[in-house]
């Protein structure tokens, strides 16, 4: 947009109002992070003192050092979170790429119902199904292993991944399939050599959203199906900072920021894909 259309010109008071609105909105969204960060800089003695002071006095990054000493397993928790999320994302992609291709490019009886059934899965969060899932995991003998968190995690991420990727694949011109068919390519060859390369940006978006979902939603399965410290992911592992007497808040916040950082870096670099891909999927709905 080199020449801004007239309609988008704001008078000075409109600009002030808009910025005030944005500031108000972002204040709500970001204030916990600001407060959390300031807490991580404050010494514990200042945290537990009245009256409340917003800015840290003699603040330091000390908590970022001591957090590793108070909870020696913290590095392991981050690793676990990443490990679980990566495996979950890989399994979801393996299941979802063929399925969304089938939904996008083939016509068969019962397709609408099947797609609806997949969407319905979204509505039942893991929490409702915890009891039988617990029994299922016990029967499979995977309680207190990584798989106890991976197996149910995958199932609840499949539906939205299918939905997103299907919307993307529908937009790939049907002529490509027909041309490949004319040239004698098998269905499988067409999928692998024609569709997959074109769908790559869509697959990346799905991979990112699935990864975020897996990284963000590990709490309930980890809480219920795993009690071994060495397999705990970040969200449950952070409870290690809840001491017997009191919570070590500054270290808890420092640990939270360290735990968030890797995911934030990924998001920052991939945000162009993310916003575009998400909104494209959303509007078509």
């Amino acid at each position: 947009m080199s020449s801004r259309p007239m309609i988008d010109r704001y008078s000075w008071w409109e600009i002030i109002l808009i910025y005030c609105g944005i500031a108000l909105f972002l204040f709500f969204v970001l204030s916990p992070f600001v407060e959390g960060f300031l807490v991580s800089l404050k010494p514990l003695s200042q945290l537990f003192s009245s009256p409340y002071r917003f800015w840290p006095e003699n603040g330091s990054f000390e908590a970022y050092r001591t957090m590793w000493i108070s909870v020696p397993g913290f590095g392991r928790y981050i690793f676990n979170s990443f490990f679980i999320s990566i495996i979950v994302t890989a399994i979801v992609l393996c299941l979802v790429i063929p399925a969304s291709y089938a939904f996008a490019k083939f016509e068969f009886r019962g397709m609408g119902i099947l797609l609806g059934a997949f969407l319905t899965v979204n509505m039942f969060s893991g929490a409702v199904l915890l009891i039988p899932l617990f029994r299922l995991m016990r029967t499979m003998g995977v309680l207190n292993t990584y798989f106890a968190m991976i197996v149910p995690g995958v199932a609840f991420l499949i539906p939205s991944a299918i939905w997103l990727l299907r919307t993307y694949m529908i937009r790939i011109p049907q002529e490509l399939n027909e041309a490949a068919y004319m040239d004698g390519a098998s269905h499988f060859y067409t999928l692998r050599r024609v569709i997959l390369p074109i769908a790559m940006p869509g697959i990346i978006v799905v991979a990112i959203t699935t990864f975020i979902g897996a990284y963000a939603q590990q709490f309930i399965f980890a809480l219920t199906f795993n009690s071994k410290t060495e397999y705990m992911p970040l969200p449950v592992g952070l409870f290690a900072y809840f001491g017997k007497q009191e919570v070590i808040w500054n270290e808890l916040m420092a640990a939270s920021f360290v735990g968030i950082a890797p995911a934030m870096v990924v998001i920052f670099f991939l945000q162009r894909y993310l916003v575009g891909g998400l909104t494209a999927g959303a509007v078509k709905q």
């Binding site: 600009i15 909105f25 409340y52 899965v121 199932a155 449950v236 916003v275 998400l278 909104t279």
Partner: protein, 294 residues
């Protein structure tokens, strides 16, 4: 074999892994919940068929109160998400410098692991040392410290606010996309006719956002109804059950007290409500875009 037929077979082969996976991990447990709800399953080895006893127990307990509370909690949470999401989307749609940065800054609550965001709120709600109580005292709005999570009424609203905070980014981004898909010529036509900004918002943006708002509030309703982490981390359903929603109650009964049968009966009730929401969602979306069937 005709090409048509081979294509259908190929499609089913592609679908099979995902279908089987979901059948095993979601459909089977769903059926199992239903069966369990008629038994007295617990940690004991023997499990007896007890018929409707678990359901009778539910209605003789405080569960009716829990259901009502869940609906009120969900209603306010969804309503606030929609209002704040609409506000945010309209603000972020304005063509002012820095807007792509502002859009990016709305994402963190959604991207960050939920538990971490909830810990931060937990600290802010702290009565003695937390920010909200501290600032309220500083500005003289309250006399003494307010321990938000210690009293039923404040804990109720505190958990709602945190839930709204986590849900707002996705709603905002979705609404932003909806606003941007409104044809630009509508605005230009109205503008040429001398319609002001507020008028254009009221007469073009808002009406054309209605389908998105309805769709999103249905989806949000289902997600919010299922909300577990927030209440569990902040209050565990307390104080004295004032933030116990259906999901929390089910968890406490089934996983906490190991009464699988009674827990399953509660889960079945949740499933019934969810199926109703789900049905409503499909009907509404079909009516909103009749030409694009799911």
């Amino acid at each position: 074999m005709s090409a048509q037929k081979s294509a259908v077979i190929f499609a089913w082969i592609l679908l099979l892994p995902a279908v089987l996976y979901v059948l095993a991990i979601v459909a089977y447990p769903l059926v199992d919940t239903f069966i369990l709800s008629f038994t007295d399953a617990s940690l004991r080895k023997v499990t007896n068929w007890v018929g409707w006893v678990n359901y009778e127990k539910i209605f003789n307990s405080t569960f009716a109160e829990v259901i009502l509370r869940t609906f009120i909690w969900t209603f306010f949470s969804v309503a606030l998400k929609m209002i704040i999401g609409t506000f945010g989307a309209v603000m972020l749609n304005a063509a002012v410098p820095g807007r792509s940065l502002f859009r990016l800054l709305t994402m963190p609550p959604w991207i960050v692991p939920m538990a971490i965001g909830i810990f931060m709120w937990g600290w802010m709600y702290n009565g003695q040392f937390g920010m909200i109580s501290g600032l309220l005292q500083r500005f003289g709005l309250v006399d003494g410290p307010v321990a938000f999570l210690a009293y039923g009424s404040t804990a109720f609203w505190a958990t709602i606010v945190t839930d709204v905070w986590i849900g707002v980014p996705l709603v905002t981004i979705y609404f932003l996309a909806a606003i941007q898909s409104i044809p630009k010529d509508l605005y230009e036509a109205a503008w040429t006719d001398g319609a002001g900004r507020w008028y254009r918002f009221r007469r073009i943006t808002l009406p054309l956002m209605v389908p998105a708002i309805i769709t999103m509030s249905m989806l949000s309703l289902i997600a919010t109804f299922n909300s577990f982490d927030i209440i569990w981390i902040l209050t565990q359903g307390g104080p004295s059950g004032e933030t116990t929603t259906m999901i929390i109650d089910t968890y406490q009964t089934a996983i906490g007290s190991k009464k699988y049968g009674e827990g399953a009966a509660r889960a079945v009730l949740i499933c019934i409500f969810l199926s109703l929401f789900c049905l409503a969602y499909f009907r509404v979306t079909r009516r909103l875009n009749p030409e694009k069937r799911a």
